[in-house]
Symmetry: C2
Subunit: 355 residues, 2 copies
């Protein structure tokens, strides 16, 4: 089983190191190879996703990804910016199904912005389509407008688009995920305005008929942004397109107060996947040894489950993380009075011990 | 001064009646004419925005709007659905600048999902561009894909687009609004992915140079969705496009816990405007006489300020609303123990008395 390890920028190196330590302790036949990605890859090779890194990722069964991005690359032309690496990996590996659990850990309920009663016990799964929509839709660019409010003026444009099979495959992913959970899917779109959303909704309804055991409802994206704040626990599986999913999944993970704890998985149709924490590269705390490695360690668990077919090992890791939380270990981001503040490395060691 | 009064559907009639009552009490030379809009207009005339209603709105100095929409119209073809009326009014009147204050009223801090310390004293202004973006961009429709992941498949598409002058004019609105507040503008886009956002950001920077007294920063939309949850008070004026503004303004207003209190204004370049509560038509409570009329009454105050140049009258209304809150009057949506629960009409009467 081959794993491409791509730590990336900022706290990426520190958190991935802890996840690798945990994976190594499992005594599984895992072959891990590390490569540069993001800003550090641009610095070394002039591109955030060098050929060699892409090749390694393609050949691996799974990619363990840290994070990319740093303010110092903000001025680069877009194609060279660190984030392009992640878009390139999604596109080239066909990673169309993004899983973003939003879970509120019992011990961390106090860290949420929301009142405890609204958030305690939260466990929702956001499934975001990841290779279509306005992220990749052609045509796009700049031109002189020939119609609209100001014909003759410079304008920029992008194309939102989804085809029927693209929606079908993510719908199946969502319904099947719901079958293993509380059997409810909320499909989020903006069908009162967008043609793309109308097709999205139509296809969701059609595919839903193949899953009579799953309840399907539809919600407009503006309302979904409100309901996540008002009553997040009402959701089970929320499925949506790439653009709306970007916004709603970040909103939902921040609501939990546990963003430093939340893993993510991005899969293609052969279950090859990229696994990364839901949080970013946090350049402000990089190198200080204080980042929370648990989201990355839990991403490694997801990797074992989804891409490497090692459910038992995945559960061992998840149980170990539960245990260190119960033992009171906390990195700075989730620290509260009465718990024990630990460094990135100490947290990794604690998980190792709990294994 | 001529006002087109468009109560619309659901609770629209009830809440607009109270606002009209308050306006009538001001002893100003206001000429008000009522017309049908939304589902009730479709029922009567076969269209959610009948010609006569549009004509009335165009000729008026301002439109006082209730709300549109009801589940019973969900099955209609999109062009006949109630929401099309609001899109039609925005487009035909050129209402490009939408003002959505997100304010947490001191007395209602407990009604927020957020912890009191995060939300008490919140006062942010979201300025949303309202006549451009993917809402109105052509081309859009369905077709057979010729490229992308599934050439040959049916696909739907929409066009996001912004021209330089469209961005310039909303930028000026935002900077000028910030000059009257805390002199900070946060421009929200998705420039790491979208061409449209890159132009948006470029133009914001350019226009910002004409306002050296205002501090400009930029935030990605996914991060903005998180920061609104994490630290909403860090914002002053948030300016963004039509699509992102739809999502973020709803998220922000729900965060306050006071959505039944939040007015909105949509202006064109001659300060003609449409004024409506930020909440919707709430068909579930329509006809029960329990809806909160304060957002509509406060929208009428915004109308007096922005379109009718009656600042003193606007302030009288706002002071009266503050007073009834201080007196402890509460409609059901904002009721809490120890306050006095009142009906829609009683709340209107209380404001009238406080005037
Ligand atoms: C870095 C950026 C392009 C990316 C996205 O928008 O998809 C990120 O926000 C994410 O959600 O993984
Ligand atoms: C009804 C709908 C078309 C509208 C919008 O999306 O703009 C509404 O959500 C709003 O924000 O006023």
């Amino acid at each position: 089983m081959k794993i491409a390890v791509l730590p990336g920028d900022g706290i990426g190196t520190e958190i991935v190191a802890e996840a690798v330590k945990v994976l190594n302790a499992l005594a599984l036949p895992l072959e891990m190879e590390t490569a540069l990605v993001g800003g550090v890859a641009y610095d070394a090779h002039g591109h955030p996703l060098p050929e060699a890194t892409l090749k390694l990722a393609k050949e691996a069964d799974a990619v363990l990804f840290g994070a990319v991005g740093d303010w110092k690359y903000d001025k680069l032309e877009r194609q060279f910016r660190p984030e392009q690496a992640i878009l390139g990996l999604r596109k080239n590996l066909g990673l169309f199904a993004n899983f973003r659990p939003a879970i509120c850990y019992e011990q961390l309920v106090g860290a949420s912005s929301l009142k405890p009663e609204l958030i305690a016990g939260l466990d929702i799964l956001i499934i975001r389509e990841l290779t279509g929509d306005i992220y990749f839709g052609q045509p796009r660019g700049r031109r002189i407008a020939t119609d609209g409010h100001f014909p003759g003026a410079e304008e920029a444009f992008d194309t939102m688009r989804y085809s029927r099979p693209e929606i079908e495959r993510i719908a199946h992913v969502a319904f099947q995920a719901a079958q293993k959970r509380n059997k409810r899917v909320t499909s989020v779109d903006k069908n009162n305005v967008l043609e793309t959303s109308q097709l999205w909704k139509d296809v969701m309804v059609e595919v839903g008929q193949q899953y009579p055991d799953v309840e399907l409802d539809h919600m407009l994206v503006d309302n979904a942004a409100m309901q996540l704040v008002k009553a997040p626990k009402k959701f089970d599986v929320l499925v949506t397109g790439n653009m709306f999913g970007d916004i709603l999944s970040d909103e939902a993970s921040m609501l939990t107060g546990s963003i430093g704890m939340l893993p993510s998985a991005s899969l293609n149709s052969s279950n090859q996947g990229l696994y990364e924490p839901s949080h970013g590269s946090a350049p402000d705390i990089a190198g200080k040894g204080i980042a929370n490695p648990l989201a990355t360690i839990l991403s490694a668990a997801m990797m074992l489950r989804f891409s490497l077919n090692q459910e038992a090992a995945a559960q061992r890791i998840e149980a170990a993380v539960q245990k260190v939380l119960a033992q009171g270990y906390r990195t700075a981001d989730i620290y509260s009075e009465g718990t024990q503040r630990v460094s990135t490395k100490e947290m990794g060691d604690a998980v190792l011990k709990a294994l």
